[in-house]
Symmetry: C2
Subunit: 354 residues, 2 copies
DNA sequence: CTGAAAGCGCTTACAG
DNA sequence: CTGAAAGCGCTTACAG
């Protein structure tokens, strides 16, 4: 009251209508693409709107159209640069479709059920769950409500919810073949969160490659996709009387931590004393201090697939589970001993194709 | 139609009212804390709500209360881990206040005017602009509309918009003093985006320290807060006939790039051949591969201040510009030559206090 | 404590 | 092409 600016409430379509001397419906039509309105009326409305500083109220529109143009994104592990990169790409692509992102963080891979109520209260048009998932009851509820859900970088057992991932099993297998071809004789795996599909699939593929070569011994420790846990796991593994010659770390984020421990706590030279491979091809993997040999997760393609699924199902109203698994590529850098064959140069990268 | 699950529209308060045998108002009251309703009625309503799977429609509520409980967050530079960390802390604190985050990315430090329309259409209760800002006309518009805006990690010339930053000038000065005490004889500065307040303030402080010691020569190149640009800036500076002995890089994100270039392209040993200091105390600065001597930006305190300003102004309706500049601490690691005195140990960190 | 009613700012059949 | 009117799902004076 005293001294402050008096709060002015936002201009409404009725005020614009008065100003332009038309009906409120006409104002609405002027802002609705494809609505039946003469160019002349439209111009008059837009002029008045501009003069008054009118902006359509998206909230009121949502109430009547049942379309909020909001997508809920639930995302954890933001300290892993993979996710900020995904978030930025997601923001870009959704903005291009005139959708907006309501972001929920902090639900690390456990079910995201606790935020579900919040999400539903805002009547979002779709849900993207990155590195997390929903219980099947809630997935079912979304389905019935006609709200498409896409799991990003995760799948569920029951396949009832759409998902977009990399071909994790194939990726793990390829890394196994790469290390085998490099002539390593003992292997370790530093796991991500143990019951996450991503972790399981990468491990399964890795094991497949090893057993095809008659190797069944595999030293496993768990890093839970967290830096601190990965450090602890690395210490355990590197303190072993006969430590593995090669370690597959379930993602690059943890691989960085493992390399730091190996070098600075155990004085090991990476690739000479110990080979490390990771997964994701995230920023630090490309930095020369690390140079991690890794399998890519093609963010642009993954995000594109995610948004496509959402847009299709929003448009059609038909919710059905779609599963996209995009192939990754093994990028060869300096963190692991090289095989004699199979490495080829392709647009600036060295990749491994056995 | 054919084969798909029939879409069921969400349950409304009227349906709950019918089921519970009360009025629609009663249902509303049952979900409004502090509303006048008997415990008995409330219990009956909640039971029916549960039975039907009712969730209040936040959109409809917003329309009538004029409170969306949504905060718009505009954020760029997500590849700099400082920002994901901020985003996560912001999410946590806003969720605790029962607010939600509508995220807009991709507006790197230029004015965020292009998204402004979108933001306003959703009738957000407040706006946080991280590493970006608004033109003064739009800031003014927010003020008049009673929507609080806080600049995060930036300030504007005109001081008309609230801001939360670290004491950047003091931080830059402290880094200058530290390097001077280390006995370096020539200096460089790799700048962030040149007309950003953060960059200007850090440079100003740095220059103050240098000139107090009679040093006016300062080699400057610009990295625009981007890794690629910082690499290019580093190459230019390190190719100089007599390159500086010490370089202050405007943030850690760029300092990492500069260290990589210095080591892997110029074969320099960091701190022996070249001292580097940064700003932010971001993840990689703490990793042993880098160990960057840097000034902290205390994320928790900065976010707390930001949310406090927002909550206060939303509650009071009084919008006034508040400027918080939180002191940082110089954390001493291995990337720069050490001064003989002034380094003290404090809860696990070595800090510099001249 | 409770219900009937008005109204938030829009979209969209409906009739002309 | 245009306007009057209904209605989206809530909250909140108002009267009892």
């Amino acid at each position: 009251m005293d001294g402050g600016v008096t709060k002015r409430s936002p201009v409404t379509s009725s005020q614009v209508a008065d100003h332009a001397g038309v009906s409120q419906s006409a104002v609405s039509r002027a802002f609705t693409p494809g609505a039946s309105i003469s160019p002349k009326t439209r111009a008059r409305v837009l002029a008045s709107a501009k003069a008054l500083g009118y902006r359509p109220n998206a909230i009121a529109r949502t109430l009547i159209t049942n379309r909020s143009r909001i997508i809920a994104v639930v995302m954890a592990y933001l300290e892993n640069l993979f996710y900020p990169d995904v978030l930025e790409e997601l923001g870009r692509r959704l903005a291009a479709e005139n959708y907006h992102v309501l972001l929920f963080t902090g639900f690390k891979d456990r079910d995201s059920d606790p935020v579900f109520d919040q999400i539903m209260q805002y009547r979002v048009d779709g849900i993207i769950l990155a590195s997390t998932s929903l219980s099947s009851e809630l997935s079912e509820e979304c389905m019935v409500a006609g709200i498409p859900v896409v799991l990003f970088n995760r799948t569920t057992e029951r396949d009832e919810t759409s998902s977009v991932t990399t071909q994790n099993r194939e990726g793990g297998k390829l890394l196994g073949q790469f290390l085998l071809a490099g002539g390593h004789r003992s292997y370790g795996y530093i796991a991500g969160l143990e019951n996450s599909s991503t972790n399981r699939d990468r491990l399964t593929g890795f094991r497949e490659a090893l057993s095809a070569a008659g190797i069944v011994d595999l030293e496993i420790r768990t890093g839970n996709f967290s830096r601190v846990d990965a450090e602890a796991a690395a210490r355990e593994m590197l303190s072993l009387p006969n430590r593995p010659e090669a370690i597959f770390v379930a993602n690059d984020h943890m691989a960085v931590a493992v390399m730091d421990v190996a070098r600075y706590e155990y004085g090991l030279s990476i690739s000479r004393d110990l080979s490390i491979v990771g997964f994701d091809n995230v920023g630090p993997a490309r930095w020369p201090s690390y140079g991690i040999t890794t399998v890519t997760q093609p963010i642009r393609q993954m995000v594109e697939a995610t948004v496509d699924i959402l847009m299709d199902q929003i448009a059609s109203g038909e919710i059905e589970a779609i599963h996209k698994a995009i192939p990754g590529e093994l990028i060869v850098r300096e963190s692991a001993r090289l095989p004699a064959t199979g490495i080829i140069e392709t647009n600036g990268y060295r990749v491994y194709r056995p």
